[in-house]
Symmetry: none
Subunit: 224 residues, 2 copies
């Protein structure tokens, strides 16, 4: 085979439109009903006149490692989700899932002005029992650099930010020199508040100017 021709690689990304539809339906069916669809249910959904139409797609999806199945057993699926952030999110009627934009670079502005292009992905999170008020304008920030290593926040971590007033001791997302960074917010009674990096090698102190603090960090999420 010609090695120069762009080889068709069978990864998740190379799913056909039809295959994506099938996959989406399977996922969605499980979301809504709590159990997987049978082949004939898929057939009926798409109006196929033969179950074999479904079988073909399932075989293809399995070949491309988008799904796994237990041969011969009813309604036993397993979905392999890739790590790519642009994965087809749940259908429109499942938007109740909290969907937080991950800002790779929001240096140029405030969260309100962040453009879609600023997103490097979406993080779907709802940590109720962790005290999240999910309905707010929560967003996530991917950490770059080492400025908070002493607070055990490392390069690459994702920090979930809630826009609101900071209190003494909060870790905040702050706009400094046109760049958003994480800092510790210090406010002692009777003194002016300031920001502080949590890295002993960078004992930086920053004054708090207006609109500087963008929000308070509520949680860290790190993928292993």
């Amino acid at each position: 085979m010609d090695k120069c021709s762009p080889k068709q690689v069978n990864t998740m990304k190379d799913l056909t439109t039809r295959q994506k539809e099938i996959l989406t339906f399977i996922e969605h069916h499980e979301w809504r009903n709590g159990y997987w669809p049978s082949i004939r249910e898929i057939q009926e959904k798409f109006g196929f006149r033969s179950t074999n139409a479904v079988m073909g797609h399932l075989r293809a999806l399995e070949k491309k490692e988008a799904i796994e199945r237990i041969p011969g057993q009813a309604r036993t699926f397993r979905i392999n989700r890739p790590d790519s952030p642009e994965i087809p999110s749940m259908p429109d009627d499942a938007t109740e899932v909290v969907d937080i934009p991950v800002m790779g670079d929001i240096a140029a502005g405030y969260p309100d002005r962040v453009e879609p292009a600023g997103e490097i992905g979406r993080l779907q999170v709802d940590i109720q029992s962790a005290g999240f008020s999910s309905r707010r304008r929560t967003f996530a920030l991917q950490v770059r650099g080492e400025s908070m290593v002493d607070a055990e926040i490392y390069d690459g971590d994702m920090v979930i930010i809630e826009p609101r007033d900071a209190h003494d001791g909060d870790i905040v997302a702050a706009l400094i020199d046109g760049e958003t960074t994480l800092k510790r917010y210090i406010k002692k009674p009777g003194e002016h508040p300031y920001l502080k990096a949590e890295n002993k090698f960078y004992p930086e102190l920053y004054p708090v100017t207006e609109l500087c603090v963008q929000g308070v960090a509520k949680a860290v999420v790190r993928n292993l």
Copy 2:
């Protein structure tokens, strides 16, 4: 009616010991495998010689509104979890939100044996872009101790675990001496796999026995 006689109330709490066992197995089977068990799989688990033993329990569970089923259809369960007061349940139209049990202490056994009492809360999370696969099998574990500090996992963090086979380098939840701990899973070609603590002060090595590895850590969540 005699108010002194203990009225038989058909609520979730009045399940028989056996019925609770069945219910627990059904739930856990779905956690671990991503799909519901068939009646014969339940039968085999409990060593029944007749599927009808299962049928009886399922009918009872349905009568007591602990579960729902679609008559005649395979592996279609729906578990009615009681509205535990301490856990704010999501609104009905948001049931798609993933609901991960947080196991505070699963030291006493394998996930199969974990009792509802083992939960210390529920974490509602769906991190699609973080590469999570089948949501239902996932559970969270609150970290105790310092055995993984060199991997930047600290006491109090919550680790999201997916039950599945480990590969070399994975951080896994493993059962050691009756306690579930986090360890690094090491498996070099041609050698026996072993577990390793990520703390230079505890250079522990552990052999991998059967049923030792409970799952692979996928992410860390820390509340700030």
